[in-house]
Symmetry: C2
Subunit: 195 residues, 2 copies
DNA sequence: CGGTATAGTGGGCATGTGCCCACACTAGTG
DNA sequence: CACTAGTGTGGGCACATGCCCACTATACCG
């Protein structure tokens, strides 16, 4: 039997291909054929490794969340030690893109995906707000440090950030928004955050 | 020749049918067949009244904007006279739904639509931010009255509101979000707005 | 080295979508 | 009462998408 390592390689290649398509052409271009073509393999591979295309997308979202989690955790830790004191906007911008594209963009584009995620993800974990929860954890740390006004609810801040990020990226025809725009929006939402 | 009134009637029926589908089943369900079926007429009608389906959608968006404009203007006027003093949240919620569903939802769901809108809408009018401009006008009036912190940029506030509204409605599987959620979010975004 | 199980390939089908087109219907006009 | 121009109808085509499946290639095992 061929190596199980190769199996994981293919899955990773498919995930990476899907992410490239998402970034380059948007969520509407993320078809099963586009993924396999971008990955450079035959279209049948997808069906052999995943029950159906929605299952692939669900695992794609989870994979993206898994890779964001240490990123967000690092930000939380850094906020605690004050290491990335001046990078509030920069750090949020990175999460912006991940969450907006990987989660909101996909879930908005494909109707059945949310239901599928509910089946796949362990019970009790809110699916759509998964990314928001991560950002909210980071924002809570920032607020505890006095960088964010104490009367702001981190959950709502995170939700607002994600929605705005989605519109920001979905509304620019694939072009990246200028850094200034993101910074202005983050400042507006988060309020009187000190650097 | 049949009456030109009937012609307008059919267009209105198609627009209304499309809006019902958007509210009930979401932007992904808005196909040409779904519209004609919902309107109770044959599928060929759409092609006779519009160059193609994207042209229909573009006019649908413009129609929605036309119907929102007096609504927003009334809010601006009311804000000037202080008539709807306590209804900041309520008024914004109404615009929330219109803008989020009619503009952001459609443009996010259909890739070619934005380009088509650029051809259709008179030059100089920003397409995606059309709804934002309307809301920004209202927010400017509110800010001038001291109901919104003077250091908030109405354009960014409006953009943030729209993005959040879209996520709010797209993330609830078609259910309306509770009024409390909208109010909390509006308060968070707009800041220390007085009632 | 032959056998076998598993991964990979691509032809093809069912479905849905937008669009075209020939035809039927209707309402004004001479 | 024909005639005609414009509207409404639905069959059907071309294309894309997800999925199935028979076939091939490859790696391990006796």
């Amino acid at each position: 039997m061929p190596t199980g390592v190769a199996l994981r390689e293919v899955r990773r290649q498919l995930f990476d291909a899907a992410e490239r398509i998402l970034l380059r052409d948007g969520a509407n271009a993320l078809t099963s054929r586009a993924v396999t073509t971008e990955a450079g393999c035959a279209k049948g591979v997808l069906h052999r490794h995943f029950a159906d295309f929605d299952a692939f997308l669900a695992e794609l979202v989870i994979d993206r969340i898994d890779r964001m989690d240490p990123q967000a955790a690092a930000l939380r830790d850094a906020a605690g030690t004050g290491t990335v004191a001046g990078n509030l906007t920069e750090a949020l911008t990175a999460l912006f893109e991940s969450v907006a594209i990987a989660i909101v963009g996909l879930i908005t584009a494909r109707d059945g995906l949310r239901a599928r995620l509910r089946e796949t993800i362990p019970a009790g974990v809110p699916v759509l707000t998964e990314g928001a929860t991560m950002i909210a954890g980071y924002l809570t740390a920032e607020r505890d440090l006095g960088r964010i006004a104490p009367d702001r609810d981190p959950d709502i801040l995170a939700f607002t950030l994600i929605g705005t990020a989605h519109l920001l990226y979905a509304g620019t025809d694939g072009d990246r928004p200028e850094d200034g725009a993101v910074e202005e929006i983050v400042t507006t939402i988060v309020g009187d955050a000190v650097r």
